[in-house]
């Protein structure tokens, strides 16, 4: 098996705060790995290291057999949709076309780029709203547009940063299907707090809290409690299940 991502004794610190301490792990081809762990545990740092946006203090990182910087063009990155200026006047298709920027020298995008962008939108089920302004899309649609943009990069590895953080999943059931369809076609690494996503999409979970630990899926309640050091997350998860008619974990009849 080829390693898609390889961390060897990687350490990183912001100022005096150590975010990652001697971390080693590998991600295999076509694996779907959920990166979980408490806030401030180093999850985002790990994504930035894989993308080559920041450098490790020590250790070695290999992505797609080369340095993160060289691998960048073959990675599809999906940031959180909340960080964008929703008033910015671009259409869904404009945003997806940004995934083809590396092929554009000047002027207009080629017909091929347009075709790939439209195909990417269709793959996340949004072909009908390609001309809609970003401002008029729902949270889930925005996030799917960003996934389509990453798909338009024709990536070998997909990185997603908390893709469900700003979405009401009961409304956006289709979103989970989109995530699942990604898993079937490429290697996926996703940072998430969402236990539903972990159980539906992940092959295994990597808990990051300065150090890393791999967990098999489904996570045991004890593991969840240990990771999030509290029962709040479990209770939240039970409530979500309760609303959708699944009463596992509820103490009523």
């Amino acid at each position: 098996m080829t390693d898609i991502v390889r961390f060897e004794n990687v350490s990183h610190r912001y100022g005096k705060t150590k975010t990652l301490d001697e971390v080693s792990f590998t991600v295999e081809k076509d694996e779907s790995l959920c990166i979980i762990g408490p806030n401030g545990g180093g999850k985002s740092t790990m994504l930035k290291l894989i993308l080559g946006l920041i450098e490790p203090k020590s250790g070695k990182i290999e992505v797609l057999g080369t340095t993160p910087e060289n691998a960048r063009s073959r990675i599809g990155y999906v940031p959180q949709s909340i960080q964008f200026d929703t008033l910015f006047p671009v259409s869904a298709l404009d945003i997806v076309l940004m995934g083809r920027l590396h092929l554009l020298r000047f002027g207009r995008f080629s017909k091929k780029c347009h075709a790939i962008a439209e195909d990417s939108l269709a793959r996340v089920g949004l072909e009908s709203i390609s001309k809609s302004p970003f401002a008029e899309l729902s949270g889930g649609q925005r996030q799917r547009v960003l996934i389509a943009r990453a798909l338009a990069c024709e990536p070998e590895l997909m990185l997603l940063d908390e893709p469900t953080a700003n979405i009401d999943l009961s409304v956006e059931a289709q979103f989970m299907d989109t995530l699942k369809s990604l898993r079937d076609i490429m290697t996926v690494l996703l940072v998430t707090h969402d236990l539903d996503v972990i159980s539906e999409v992940g092959d295994s979970a990597l808990c990051v809290n300065r150090r890393v630990h791999r967990h098999s899926i489904p996570l045991s309640p004890a593991t969840v409690q240990e990771i999030y050091s509290g029962s709040l997350r479990l209770e939240h998860d039970r409530k979500v299940r309760h609303q959708t008619g699944d009463h596992t974990g509820c103490d009523h009849d």
Binding site: L51, L53, R72, S73, I75, Y77, P79, F84, D85, L87, F88, P89, V90, S91, D94, I95, L97, M98, G99, L101, H102, L104, F106, G107, R108, F109, P133, A135, E136, R149, C153
Partner: protein
């Protein structure tokens, strides 16, 4: 209004002002759309105000060393470009608060200009003309400069439109796609600076920001695509400029304030509509 059209034929200055205004409207509209949607109105304002430093320096050195080629417009252009690069580089690289840099460059440029004007040999400098605009300052050379600079702004925007839009929308993702995000942001600021300098004769450095921002802000209320905002904003700016010049000529009122008030009025009305 007939007097205005008669004057266009007989008075070269009015004709120059109108032609320069029409040419520069093209770049105001396009750059104004970037300024409004990228939310960098304060950077544009700082660049406009700090160009006084270049105006003052140009007047000082041209009088002191008898350099005829050194025009206030030329000085303004250099100062605006320097300010744009300083603000851009510091906001990209250093961990300094952006608004602090903007305020600093804004005031430093103006202070430099005022001192140069104070020490400039010869008769006093008509500061008001540069601050609030004076179309009588428009020369034939300014018309040519406006045409050339507008053409430069438009062509560069057309060539790199998608990259500029991408960098404005998502700087980090553009960088990941191999785009020099910082470079394109600086390019955008440079194009904005050029557009602002074109406004100095028409509205002056203080009112310039209004004509950069208001037409685009009005246009963005009715359009949700950047290129449509640009087209509408160019049309609006053309109307404001031509109508403002005509009205101020007929009513014998200062041109800059008239143009700005028309722009503000239309924007105000647009706010009341969905």
């Amino acid at each position: 209004m007939i007097e205005f059209f008669e004057a266009l034929q007989t008075v070269p200055l009015i004709r120059y002002a109108l032609i320069a205004g029409i040419f520069s409207s093209l770049s105001f509209g396009v750059m104004g759309s970037f300024v409004v949607t990228r939310r960098i109105g304060y950077i544009a304002a700082a660049i406009a105000h700090s160009s006084l430093g270049g105006i003052g320096a140009a007047i000082y050195f041209s009088r002191k060393y008898d350099l005829e080629w050194l025009t206030p417009m030329g000085g303004a252009l250099v100062a605006a470009l320097i300010s744009a690069l300083i603000i851009g580089m510091i906001s990209l690289r250093a961990k300094e608060r952006e608004d602090t840099i903007i305020g600093g460059v804004w005031a430093t440029g103006m202070a430099t200009g005022l001192l140069f004007m104070h020490f400039a040999p010869g008769r006093g400098v008509n500061l008001e003309s540069y601050i609030f605009g004076n179309i009588l300052l428009t020369s034939q050379a300014d018309v040519i400069a406006a045409a050339v600079l507008s053409l430069v702004v438009l062509s560069v925007t057309l060539l790199f439109y998608h990259k500029l839009v991408a960098v404005c929308f998502d700087e980090e993702f553009s960088r990941l796609r191999g785009i020099n995000s910082g470079g394109y942001f600086l390019l955008l600021l440079v194009l904005i600076s050029i557009s602002i300098v074109l406004l100095v004769g028409l509205t002056g450095i203080i009112l310039a920001i209004a004509l950069i921002v208001l037409p685009a802000a009005t246009a963005s209320r009715f359009n949700k695509q950047l290129w449509k905002i640009m087209v509408s904003s160019v049309v609006l700016t053309l109307i404001y400029t031509v109508f403002g010049l005509a009205f101020s000529f007929v009513s014998e009122t200062p041109t800059g304030p008239v143009i700005v008030l028309i722009a503000a009025l239309v924007y105000g009305v647009s706010l009341s509509r969905k």
